[in-house]
Amino acid sequence: MALPPLVEPATELTVDEVRRYSRHLIIPDVAMDGQKRLKNARVLCVGAGGLGSPALMYLAAAGVGTLGIIDFDVVDESNLQRQIIHGQSDIGRPKAESAAASVREINPLVEVVIHNEVLTNDNVMDVFSGYDLIIDGTDNFATRYMVNDAAVLLGKPYVWGSIYRFDGQASVFWAEQGPCYRCLYPEPPPPGMVPSCAEGGVLGVLCASIGSIQVTEAIKLLTGTGEPLVGRLMVYDALEMSYRTVKVKKDPDCALCGENPTVTGLIDYDDFCGAVSEEASAAVQGSTITASELKEWLDAGKDIDLIDVREPAEYEIVRIPGSRLLPKGDIVSGAALSELPTDRQAVFYCKAGVRSAEALAAAKAAGLSNAVHVQGGVLAWINQVDPSLPTY
């Protein structure tokens, strides 16, 4: 399904621009009109890493008028195996600045906007609103779902790509024209199930294979050329050397872009994706019990203080009997430390075990050395102990 161009054409190309972009201008499908649209386009690349490197370099060379780069990280030596926008002398430099310098060297006609900051719920809508199109080159599920949700809420298309070892996937998610990321993957894998590139490795050149698909799709969308990858997932296998596409339809039950959405604004993506801090990971070692063990403790009359660290609305939906509410935010901030027990063992739980791990870390730091948390939270309790309770 062909789509109209995303961007209106600029008034004219300069003589310098005509010389520089001549190989585009003589392609009938791009031509003067398409190149003028690229000149007027504003594209944001989320992440200047593996995918962001080739994406930014080719978008710059292609003559996209304004390129935004958002990345909070600094260049590390281990990045250079694949993040070709950075070089040896950039080690230790902020990636956004290093990438901007490369973009300017490739094409000084491009206006570069540097966002040397973390993309968060607080700034994502603001940052995205300044661009026509977003390229997702992030490296973690939490940011990927945030990018998707913000793009859907703003009605913007984005070109998604992900890589792992020899495998890559790419698509265009645009809720107004087709499915979103949640239609394909409603939820991320359980924490720890799917390794990151840092944990599992990635073939460096895979970034170019997938990043170049992303740029191709970006150019097609901006200029209204060809058949965009909306409603199709590209699956690349470098070992077999095969590219194939599968169709992806909009899921009428999608929590975000479906007929009865339950996600109507940005959510807590670390919680959604089960991302835990290093402190929390350390705190749960040897201080984790299962829901079944909690049931045995309660049945045996063990003297514990069962603390639900979720939000009041969640506590209203379902709770473990005998628990009291003390939201994680108040424990972590220190505001509720005085309400933690000193005479009994504290047992924390939340929905799925992430927030309770954070609360446990804070409680242990405050001296509650025998505190524990419940693995899998209230969902595990429902699953293992009382399936009659509602899940949410």
Partner: protein, 64 residues
């Protein structure tokens, strides 16, 4: 029933997409399934498989 699972002819003892995924992995999260070249949305995993179906199980990856 024999289906083609990720390119390999495979005998499966289930009749639904959900059953097939459940037999492969304990985690249904982060998985997409395409049958005959089209992704089956999670809400329709109860749908029946047919002999000879080409089934592809895809895993979400986060790397970028």
């Amino acid at each position: 029933m024999r289906v083609e699972l990720n390119g390999v002819p495979t005998d499966v003892d289930t009749e639904t997409v959900a059953g097939l995924v459940g037999g492969l992995t304990s985690a249904e999260r982060g998985v997409a399934v395409a049958v005959n070249g089209e992704v089956v949305p999670r809400s329709q995993w109860h749908r029946a498989l047919c002999t000879g179906d080409r089934v592809e199980v895809l895993t979400a990856s986060q790397g970028g």
